[in-house]
Amino acid sequence: MDLTLRVWRQKDGQSTGTLETYQISGIIPDMSFLEMLDVTNERLIEEGKDPIAFDHDCREGICGACSLVINGRAHGGFSGTTTCQLHMRKFNDGDTITVEPWRATAFPVLKDLVVDRTSFDRIIQAGGFISANTGGAPDGNAVPIPKPDADAAMDAAACIGCGACAASCPNGSAMLFVAAKVSHLAHLPQGMPERGQRVLSMVAKMDEEGFGNCTNHAECEAMCPKDISISHIAKMNREFIRATVRGE
């Protein structure tokens, strides 16, 4: 396959970036998108040029490190697929592919396609946990958890924290990410004691980090590589209303 790549290049956080065009040939359909970028980088290095920086690690769709907005869609926009699992057979010979970093104020670009997602860490630090010190936990079966609740918690907990939701949202909103954690813990009895404070703190942090808010387009759900449903956002809204009404 011969492709025309338009890739966002930006030296560092202070510089302004621009889309640069690269012609790349000899791409085979079995390559993953990141392997295609590897090959491009190998050639750039051989030509004495600066390779394209991008985040990646596990390359099996679970660590959440890879990102990239490909032709206007986060992770390329294929259902349940992260960029590292996207293969070049989804593209056609002669295609022009535009690759951009996640764009959101709360995800500043560090270099090229690499962005800083520590805002997500700080939101979790605001309350995305159950305060249970190591040791002294009761037996795992002491509190039965109905299977539907455990399943619903797992649905939400599948979030990989990649940021595709905030990147694809026209409002740069992290609601799906925050909701996934709130909903995960709100479905479990162990999450009950901190239920109210958790949602209030996490939402306050989300606002403070400069994420936008939800206008209910559901673009995040469509782009989420783990197919997390916006029903979790509704759940978070309920949790928020509950905590507010109770004056927590």
Binding site: I28, P29, V39, E60, H87, I130, A137, G140, A153, Q190
Partner: protein, 641 residues
């Protein structure tokens, strides 16, 4: 090769089942009010590192935790699919602490330390309780009780799981606990920061030198104790199921400073990975072993058969596992299944474009169980397979091939998980201790969390109780020297300005390791590897091309430093494999096999841990042996016929 007396594992006295309890009682404690005066460095934020950092933070210590990823939530523990073992006996099927202990020792081919393994089995139950308390959404039965499954050929159902994402859920539990401590101010998290050197002061580990991967700044961090939980060294083979960034740098740096590296030749191959599709391949994807429950593995009987699988009639197919191991068949253990696949491909009977693959065929399963049942059991795996290969495995058989998955070797540690360098603790996959020569399925997560949550917090406290808090300074000459060494190394690698990319070296190194120190090793192949690796290392330092500078985000530089360390390590691994003249677990020497082609252990000569000390002035590494004494179990031979 120089052999000193047996290394002392500092195993407490007393009956096996009471060692840990006695030891805990005998350990010194740090007064709660004093704990914040101690500073602890934790390198790595996976199950072991993150778990230790969070727990030590909860106890009130001052913790600095480092990870190279952009967030601790991305540590590669996240990728474990299958589950986590625990001797809970919830299923009332005869499980017990002792049985888990025994299975782990036997599974490790009697090459692990009995006392450590027993402790692992003991704390396994606490791990599940702790994880449940922290909100890990384990699978549940309709009655609300925890669900279990049998995994990796175990006779009991002791594996807890969260769909196919157990590692992810456990890691996110650790990450949550860690985040809570970050918020509480007890843990300071340094993400996108890579440890490049360890600093010893008067022979004690007192800190690390790190590189900020965004700014390139070389930082000096001093502390009372250093904990490394930096994972395995699988990517020395380039292609593995590990993450792209996983590396051996922290371990090899500690090794260079005098820490012993134990059993580097114990590497685990996983039989059911998606085969390599070409030179571009950067990583291999594991498919759950559970596929072997219903899929049948075969290759054509004819060499180089050009026909597609559907055109090959039944009598021209070789279901080799069923043929060779009639009682276990397709469920033969990982190492045995892997070697059998390699043999078939070496005979020219491999399938796919590269000839490096065997069929895993569900045609019979679909006939027997119906398509919907197969879809329900394995649908997500079939989807993943289709995503990667573009093939529909309901219609054409899957192609699988073994891949490097886990490394049992690691830095040598005593019962307290402290290396031979005082003040350097090593946890999780990066130590050598619990899995012997072969790790059982669903045991890696167990060990990581056991070390991080339940062992290190005690033993590190015991060590600290003997230390004066704050007895370190990042401004001392040792730190300055170490930082200068790191800067020089970076400067050197950037100044070579050669012709070959870092990846091309890594790929070549990986091929050498895979071909000569992979699933089957011989004296000849290892000798060859030991010729090729130093030559490659030499070429690397003359001809590698690393673009960009040191004071910026430079992924090529990161890779170059890691590959340089893999080149150091590969030699050690091959050398260990050369001198271990027996076959055991993940280490298979073709010279040492039974007539049926099974691993032939030599308990008389090799029932020891090989702990390697870095050569002082060139030459070969120095061997220290820790003799493995088995008080409770007796040697037996694994048989899967």
């Amino acid at each position: 090769m120089d052999t000193n007396g047996s290394l002392n594992g500092n195993v407490p006295a007393g009956p096996l089942a009471e060692k840990w309890d006695n030891h805990r009682f005998n350990m010194k404690l740090v007064n709660p009010a004093n704990r914040r005066r101690y500073k602890i460095i934790v390198v790595g934020s996976g199950l072991a590192g993150g778990g230790a950092a969070a727990t030590l933070g909860e106890l009130g210590y001052n913790v600095d935790c480092f990870c190279y990823q952009d967030s601790p939530r991305r540590a590669h523990s996240i990728a474990a699919q299958g589950g986590i073992n625990a001797a809970k006996n919830y299923q009332n099927d005869g499980d017990s602490t002792y049985r888990l202990f025994y299975d782990t020792i036997k599974g490790g081919d009697f090459r692990s330390r009995e006392s450590n393994v027993y402790r692992l089995a003991q704390v396994s139950a606490n791990i599940i309780d702790q994880c449940v308390a922290m909100g890990v959404p384990f699978a549940r039965e309709y009655g609300g009780q925890l669900a279990n499954r049998s995994f990796g050929g175990a006779q009991v159902s002791r594996t807890f799981y969260a769909r196919g994402q157990t590692g992810q859920q456990l890691l996110l539990g650790v990450y949550a606990a860690l985040s809570r401590q970050v918020a509480a101010g007890t843990v300071k998290m340094h993400s996108r920061t890579e440890m490049l050197e360890i600093v010893l002061v008067d022979g004690q580990a007192k800190g690390v030198i790190t590189r900020n991967l965004v700014t390139g700044e070389i930082e000096k961090h001093a502390a009372d104790v250093v904990i490394m939980a930096t994972g395995g060294y699988g990517p020395v083979f380039y292609l593995s199921t590990n993450a792209m960034g996983n590396n051996v740098t922290a371990s090899i740096r500690a090794y260079m400073k005098g820490a012993y590296f134990a059993n580097p030749c114990y590497t685990q191959i996983h039989p059911t990975c998606i085969p390599v599709s070409g030179d571009h391949q950067s990583k291999l994807t594991l498919m759950s072993e559970s596929l072997r429950n219903d899929g049948r593995i075969w290759v054509p009987t004819k060499e180089g058969d050009p026909r597609g699988p559907a055109e090959i009639p039944e009598d021209e197919r070789d279901y080799y596992l069923e043929r060779m191991y009639p009682s276990f068949g397709n469920l033969a253990p990982r190492d045995i299944a892997s070697r059998a696949a390699k043999r078939a491909c070496d005979e020219g009977r491999g399938v796919g474009d590269t000839g490096l693959g065997v069929y895993l065929d569900f045609t019979d399963a679909i006939k027997r169980l119906s398509l919907p049942v197969v879809q329900q059991r394995y649908g997500n795996l079939f989807d993943m397979y289709e995503k990667i290969t573009g093939e529909n495995a309901y219609e054409v058989p899957m192609r699988i091939y073994p891949a490097i998955h886990y490394t049992m070797g690691g830095l040598w540690v005593d019962y307290n998980l402290m290396s031979n360098i005082p003040g350097l603790f090593v946890l999780g996959e990066s130590n050598f201790s619990d899995h012997g020569a072969n790790r059982l399925g669903a045991s890696a997560l167990m060990q990581g969390l056991a070390d991080g949550y339940f062992v290190a917090p005690y033993t590190v406290g015991n060590y600290l109780a003997s230390q004066t808090p704050g007895d370190y300074s990042a401004d001392s000459s040792e730190f300055t020297q170490a930082a200068d060494d790191v800067k020089d190394r970076i400067k050197r690698v950037l100044s070579i300005d050669g012709k070959r990319t870092v990846t091309s070296f890594h790929r070549e190194l990986g091929l050498i390791c895979w071909d000569y120190c992979g699933m089957a090793r011989t004296d000849q192949s290892l000798t060859k590897a030991l010729d090729l690796i130093p030559a490659l290392k030499e070429e690397f330092w003359e001809n590698v091309s690393v673009p960009g500078g040191g004071d910026e985000l430079n992924p090529e530089l990161e890779k170059a430093l890691r590959v340089a360390d893999f080149l150091e390590f590969a030699e050690l691994m091959c050398y260990d494999a050369l001198v271990r003249k027996e076959s055991c677990g993940g280490h298979f020497r073709e010279e040492y096999q039974t007539q049926e082609g099974e691993a032939l252990r030599d308990d008389e000569h090799f029932s020891h841990v090989s702990a390697w000390e870095a050569p002082r002035n060139g030459g070969r590494p120095v061997l220290h042996k820790e003799n493995l004494e088995f008080e409770e179990v007796e040697f037996s031979v694994r048989s899967y016929k």
